[in-house]
Amino acid sequence: MEYFLKLFLSGTAKGSIYALIALGYTMVYGIIQLINFAHGEIYMIGGFTALIFGGFFFSKGMPVGFVLLFSVLLSIIYAAAFGYTIEKIAYRPLRGKPRLSALISAIGVSMVLQNFVLLAQTEKFLPFPSYLPEFKWLQPYKEYINSTQLIILGVTAVIMVLLTFLIKFTRMGKAMRATAQDMHMAQLVGVDINQVISMTFIIGSALAAIGGVLICSYMGQINYYIGFIAGIKAFVAAVLGGIGSIPGAVLGSFVLGWTESLGTGYISSDYEDAFAFIILIVILLIKPEGILGRTRRQKV
């Protein structure tokens, strides 16, 4: 039972990280029906930027709280800028073209970003210093949950609430929902869809950057390749929960996190990454629209 609880909690922490990435996936997919393969790379770039700026500020002898705040802020800004730029360069010219074109373009972007970081920085795994605070009162429960995991959980919860608020109650959120429903119709009633789509990419990328910083602090290392597999898994989570649905993405992420951690704990750790794919195949067989998803009718 204790073993199970441990696995369950580590799965929860994992799931909440996937959730941060999956939210960006699901938002982008909900609006332009594109699997943004480059999303995982944005997350990796977010982690790298935080490492770079954090290292810079730290070497200038600034206090830890300041380092944490500013490196995270800068990494969010940079990731958002990357997301915005990528959408403008690689996806916007393909709008209205067959959907697979944009998907292929996204794969290309993902390759470019990975190899750009590989060439401009390093191909080695770099240790990622954790600037996150340690909670004293959590010490007795250390075996079950550590402070990083707790912070991750808290951050995910806050972000999910904020995001739901943004989409449900703000003007921009309304425009996003309208664009997701029918792009042409939204345009007709005066929604600036370019702006909406850019905003979606900016928000999604910012979330990915937060996820990047958190997971790198949790894992304690980073390299240019971490984004790809995490991106795919987050996509699986988004599909699992029902792509396009925000609570679905979070739910799917937790389910994926639990399955992975219980699967590695009870079955075999060799196949850690395979569980996500097996879940994906099973869910697509049984309920292709996902747990909380709605079916879209196909038209000619």
């Binding site: 390759m111 190899n115 401009a120």
Partner: protein, 422 residues
Amino acid sequence: MKVRSILADVRKSLGIAVWSMVLLFPLMVMKVSVTRGVAQVQFRWNFLPFVGIAGFVLSFAWRIALEWKDRRGNNKSEGTFSRVKAWSGQYFARPAVRTSALLALLSFVIAYPFLFGMYHTNIMITAFIYVILALGLNIVVGLGGLLNLGYAAFFGVGAYTYGLMWKYLGHSFIAAGIDPGWLFWISLPLAGIMASLFGILLSLPVLRLRGDYLAIITLAFGEIFRMVMQNSSDITGGATGISLIPRPWFFGHKLPPPQAATYIYFIAIVLVIITIFIVRRIEDSRVGRALEAMREDEVACEAMGINLVKNKLITFALGSFWAGIAGVIMAAQTTYINPDSFTLWESIIILMAVVIGGTGSIPGVIGGAILLKLLPEYFRALAQYRMLIYGIAMVLVIIFKPDGLIPRKRKQYTFEEKELSK
């Protein structure tokens, strides 16, 4: 007016230059290294002006390319390039010219291993393997319109079929006094069939899915295949793979490596020719037309009475068959296989050959595969930039020339003027 628009362009490009300098600043200018848990940052200021200049120039090029694309979209038959193409097309339409060109090409291809030696022959074999792979993938992507991101797994199924056949049956063949060179020839069709079976297995869950879900699930399948091969070490040798796989024997004679390379080269050519022939026949057949209809619109296609389930199964089975065959040649050529040869990136490179060459166009796909395989061999200096360049090329092609370098010709029925006027 003209001056003003140029000035506006310059101002825009300056903006982009500044943007790219700011955007790429942390990754390009600041280089991070970690020593004993402390991150150190080095500044490389000399990169900054390059980034700015590149941003400025590239944004101009980008704008010109977009304009060019718009203009080309409006009237396709203008411009020197298309005139040259029309002229050469006319020339090549003559049977005499066509046959002699084909014969010249064929004799060059046959003479190749004797002219250039083993090193270049081996490179050419890998190129041919890619041609077969790309042609097979073209059936799935180009004809059927189903994006397959796990194609390397079928390639792997083929290679492992031969590898495992050798590992488990090789010595019993020798013990029974049968020439183990036969294993290659048995494996060749067997690998194709195995890969087809895996293709059908994969296509069962995806029958109901649309394009992008399908892409992800094929990707998942490919990764699962690789992981299974990697982790079941008692059967497949795990991450170390299977080594000492024999090259095909020539009528009971074990050939020394150079001759064996030449022999494989010719086997590969014959297979390439057979593949081209069969793929062309498929394209013109009833199945091929049904697949094309499926690519254009699944719902409309179903309404026309075409069985989508059957068609998808056929697509995957046919497409995977060639991957299996290519896998056997690959195993025979390198004599060594391990799971690392069948990663997702391998699948993506094969897909790239199809996309860059021209989805659905047989000459385009062949050209794309040869290009992607030969260029890195002859530009070794740029090896570390290979994937970066590939990625950029993929994005550029899909934006500016979505039909690929040699677009496919669509079948058209044209009415004669006379008939209409009657």
